[in-house]
Structures are given as structure tokens and as C-alpha cells.
């Protein structure tokens, strides 16, 4: 375990060495940002709408006491969405979509000698392949989480509109009631950390792939599994530290 951790740290250090040519790396960062951000927008939108709707219905169902105002459903759904569902569920989904893609892409480059070709040319392969992916994930995952929060709350509002357990007016009132900007800060810190975890762990798994197609698949699976575990661990640590 310590051997792998050391290799991971060394790979990260190599990834952030000075680039050979900034413009080439910048173009790569932009390409990765489009791939991570625009490419994941669809799946994040869909899951956010459904999770937001389901959360609101479940909270409304649990608040059956007439002593609790109905707007509380909106308040609880808001805080749950901002603090937990949007950053964590989005990150777990992104670990599957983006992380597996990163690990299999880099792993395939390794087994087909494309990484060797980069090194022969004098290119710092970790820097060229991994750094742009980490930068893209650290910047785009928070943006996706913001979209997810907005759509999650919209999903809750739609559920109220068609469900009838809570009126849309009560729900909106709940969303506005006692809002703390700190929750958004926590969500964004989590999103940055999760983005880093997804890109770096999956890139590490891909970079040290050896063998053939079977091993590329195994690397992608390991990357996703380790990322998911680390996301949940980081979720706990950040929550404990910031709240």
C-alpha cells in the first residue's frame, strides 16, 4: 500500500513539472474541459432532476406531523441536495463516466506503446497526459455540481407541482428559508476534491497498466472502485472539517 502511495505521489509530482510548451498543454486542457464538462452535462442533468424530485417526495412523506410547516420539506431537500446529493452522487457518477474513460484511455496508450512514443520524443508523458485531465476535472466538476444543485431543486419543484404533498409555494419558501452560503462553499470544496480524486486515481491506474486489453479493463475497474471509495472518505473528512 505504501509502495503504491509513493508511486502515486511521484506520478503527481511528474505530472505538474514545467510543460515543454504551454500552448500545446493549454489546448489539451481545453479539450479535456469540453470532454469532462459538456460530455457529462446530460447524465448529470438527468440524475439531478430525478434525485431532487425523489428527495422532496421522501422528505414530504416523512414530515407527516401537522406541527411541522410544509415548507420544511423544501428546506431539508435544499440542504441535502447542496451538501450531499449533488456533490457526492454527481462525483460517483462522474467516477464511472469520466474516470473509466481516463483510465482506459491512458491504459490503452500504455499497452500500445503510445506513452513510450511520447517519452522517446522527450515529452514528459505524465505532464502531457495527466495534468490536463486533473485541471479539467478540478475546474469542471464544481461547475457540474452547481448545475446539479440547480436542477436538483428544480426536480423538487416539479415533484411538488405534480405530486401535491407540498405546494410549489411552500417548497419555494422552504428553499429560501434560513439559507447559509457556507453550504455552497462546502459543496464546491467537495467538488474540487472529488474532481482531483477521480482524475488522479484513474490516471494512475491507467498509467501503470501492463499487458493487453484485459488489463486495460481491469485498470478502469480498479480506477472507478478506488475513486468511489476515496470520494466517500473525502466526503466524510470535508464534512467533518467544514460543518
Amino acid at each position: 500500500m505504501f509502495y503504491s502511495l509513493g508511486k502515486y505521489m511521484l506520478l503527481l509530482r511528474l505530472s505538474f513539472k514545467r510543460p515543454e510548451k504551454f500552448s500545446v498543454y493549454w489546448a489539451e486542457v481545453m479539450r479535456e474541459m469540453v470532454s469532462v464538462g459538456i460530455g457529462s452535462l446530460g447524465i448529470i442533468s438527468i440524475i439531478s432532476l430525478f434525485i431532487g424530485a425523489a428527495t422532496t417526495i421522501q422528505v414530504a412523506f416523512q414530515l407527516s406531523s401537522p406541527l411541522v410547516p410544509l415548507s420544511t420539506a423544501g428546506k431539508i431537500a435544499r440542504d441535502s441536495t447542496i451538501l450531499e446529493f449533488s456533490p457526492t452522487i454527481s462525483a460517483l457518477v462522474l467516477a464511472g463516466r469520466v474516470g473509466s474513460s481516463i483510465a482506459s484511455q491512458i491504459g490503452t496508450m500504455r499497452v500500445t506503446e503510445q506513452i513510450d512514443a511520447l517519452e522517446i520524443m522527450g515529452v514528459n508523458a505524465p505532464g502531457y497526459l495527466i495534468a490536463p485531465k486533473i485541471i479539467a476535472c478540478v475546474t469542471m466538476v464544481p461547475m457540474l455540481v452547481i448545475v446539479s444543485i440547480v436542477l436538483g431543486m428544480t426536480g423538487g419543484w416539479i415533484a411538488c407541482l405534480f405530486g401535491g404533498e407540498v405546494t410549489p409555494a411552500d417548497y419555494i419558501m422552504g428553499l429560501r428559508d434560513g439559507f447559509m452560503p457556507l453550504t455552497i462553499q462546502v459543496a464546491l470544496v467537495k467538488a474540487c476534491a472529488f474532481g482531483f480524486i477521480i482524475a488522479s486515481i484513474c490516471a494512475y491506474q491507467g498509467f501503470y497498466t501492463s499487458g493487453g486489453a484485459l488489463e486495460v479493463g481491469q485498470s478502469a475497474t480498479r480506477g472507478v472502485v478506488f475513486s468511489c471509495v476515496m470520494i466517500l472518505f473525502a466526503d466524510l473528512v470535508i464534512t467533518r472539517l467544514m460543518l
Binding site: E113, Q114, D116, E119, I120, M121, N124
Partner: protein
């Protein structure tokens, strides 16, 4: 000129290379031959720095490459072109982008100049008008030629070729061999080719090193190989009845 001195390479308990020394001359096709598992590719990877030798040194024009760190190696690496066994073209880039890639990173040429150079390299390997194709759209022989064009883009002093004929039909193999031979003479490169293709050995082997059990077993030229009495080399080169018949005619 490239010189290797007493190269050893060990993977765990497996001694793959056991003290190989040789000199690879400029303007010549230097072939490394040997059976499967004899250490040919490992030796090539030690020379280009993809593997670090367990012991021994590699000199590029008297500069000790083994002692250098990654950054110090970059000026030499920009003078190296390499054709990999599976061509190792970047899948996400078109043919033209593959060839321009090293130029983008290591030169300050304008886009038009880089495009000119890419077109020149493609023309040189007879692949004009294939600029916009992607590696997945190319045949095995075309991939090899694009690989050569990419290797040529930086006008290298050293060309390394790993199994240039693997997976190719005999006719295409000869085309690739002739291309490597012509380019070596034209650009006065130090070319090192790892192969076990006997057509290449007999056709373009100016200088041949035969590896056996991780050691240099024989050294000479394609003219000398037919008359050697080295048992292991004879068993390797003249293994087929066709080659035995060819030897009798020589």
C-alpha cells in the same frame, strides 16, 4: 555513432542482458537479431532510455546517456526517431497531427512551416494525400510508413526501429526495408533495427549483432553471415529449408 558498453539488464531474478557491448556506426543499418526472448527489444529499450540498464553505459556521440536525467536527455531525444512494432500512432490525432506533434512541442515554426514539413515527410514515405486520415483508417503498412514519417519530422540523427516487418506481407516488408535503407543513407542517420526477418537481414544488414541467451553471440555483416560457422547463428538464420537451399547456392 552510438556505443554501448557492458549492458546488463535484470528483471527480478531474470537476467535478460548479460554484458553486451557494441558500436553502431553512422550511415549504416545496424541490425539486432536473435530468437524470441533473446533480449533484442530489451536492448533497444535500454539504448533509447525506456529501460534503465542494471549496469553499463550508452553513449550518443561520446555523451553518456545513461548518466543523464530526463531533462538532460531531452536535447538527445529530439534527435531520436523511433518506429515501434505497432507503429504507436496517437489514435486521437490525424496522420498530419501525428507528424506535426513533435514539431508543435519542440520548435517555434509557424503552422504553415509545420504543415510543409508534415507534407514533405508524408511524400517521402509515399503517403501523399493521406493527411486527414486517422490511424484506425490505415492499413498495417501505411501505419508503419506514417510512423517513419513521424520519426523523420524532427530530422533525427538516430533512427530506432522495432520489428519493422511484423504483421506485414512480404512485398510491403520489402517496401519498408527499402525505405529505411534509403532514408538512412539520405540523412546519414545511425539506424538500429531490431528484427528476426531474414529478408531484412540479408537485404539491408550492413552491421548485424546476433543475440543469444542475453549475450552478443556473433557480429558481422550480411555478406559474412552466410559463411559463418557459428552453430547457434546458423540454426537461427538457416532454420527453414528455403534458407538452407539459398545458403547452398551462395
Amino acid at each position: 555513432m552510438i556505443e554501448i558498453k557492458d549492458i546488463y539488464k535484470t528483471f527480478g531474478d531474470n537476467d535478460v542482458l548479460k554484458g553486451i557491448s557494441a558500436t553502431f556506426k553512422t550511415g549504416k543499418n545496424n541490425l539486432i537479431i536473435g530468437g524470441s526472448g533473446s533480449g533484442k527489444t530489451t536492448l533497444l529499450k535500454c539504448i533509447v532510455g525506456l529501460h534503465e540498464p542494471t549496469k553499463g553505459d550508452v553513449f550518443f556521440e561520446e555523451e553518456n546517456f545513461t548518466d543523464m536525467d530526463f531533462t538532460q536527455r531531452v536535447p538527445i531525444r529530439t534527435q531520436i526517431g523511433m518506429l515501434f512494432q505497432n507503429s504507436a500512432l496517437f489514435d486521437s490525432m490525424s496522420v498530419e497531427e501525428n507528424i506535426m506533434f513533435p514539431l508543435n512541442l519542440f520548435t517555434n515554426q509557424s503552422h504553415a512551416e509545420k504543415l510543409d514539413r508534415a507534407n514533405f515527410c508524408l511524400e517521402r514515405v509515399n503517403l501523399k494525400d493521406k493527411n486527414k486520415l486517422y490511424p484506425a483508417e490505415l492499413s498495417g503498412g501505411m501505419k508503419k510508413r506514417v510512423g517513419i514519417a513521424r520519426a523523420l519530422s524532427m530530422q533525427p540523427k538516430y533512427l530506432f526501429v522495432d520489428e519493422p516487418n511484423s504483421g506485414l506481407d512480404p512485398k510491403t516488408s520489402i517496401v519498408i526495408d527499402d525505405l529505411i535503407n534509403d532514408l538512412t543513407a539520405e540523412y546519414n542517420m545511425t539506424t538500429i533495427i531490431v528484427t528476426h526477418d531474414m529478408n531484412s537481414v540479408m537485404g539491408i544488414g550492413d552491421h548485424i549483432i546476433f543475440l543469444h541467451q542475453g549475450q552478443k553471440w556473433w557480429e558481422g555483416s550480411n555478406k559474412e553471415i552466410a559463411h559463418t560457422d557459428n552453430k547457434e547463428l546458423n540454426e537461427f538464420v538457416f532454420a527453414s529449408k528455403f534458407m538452407q537451399a539459398a545458403k547452398e547456392k551462395l
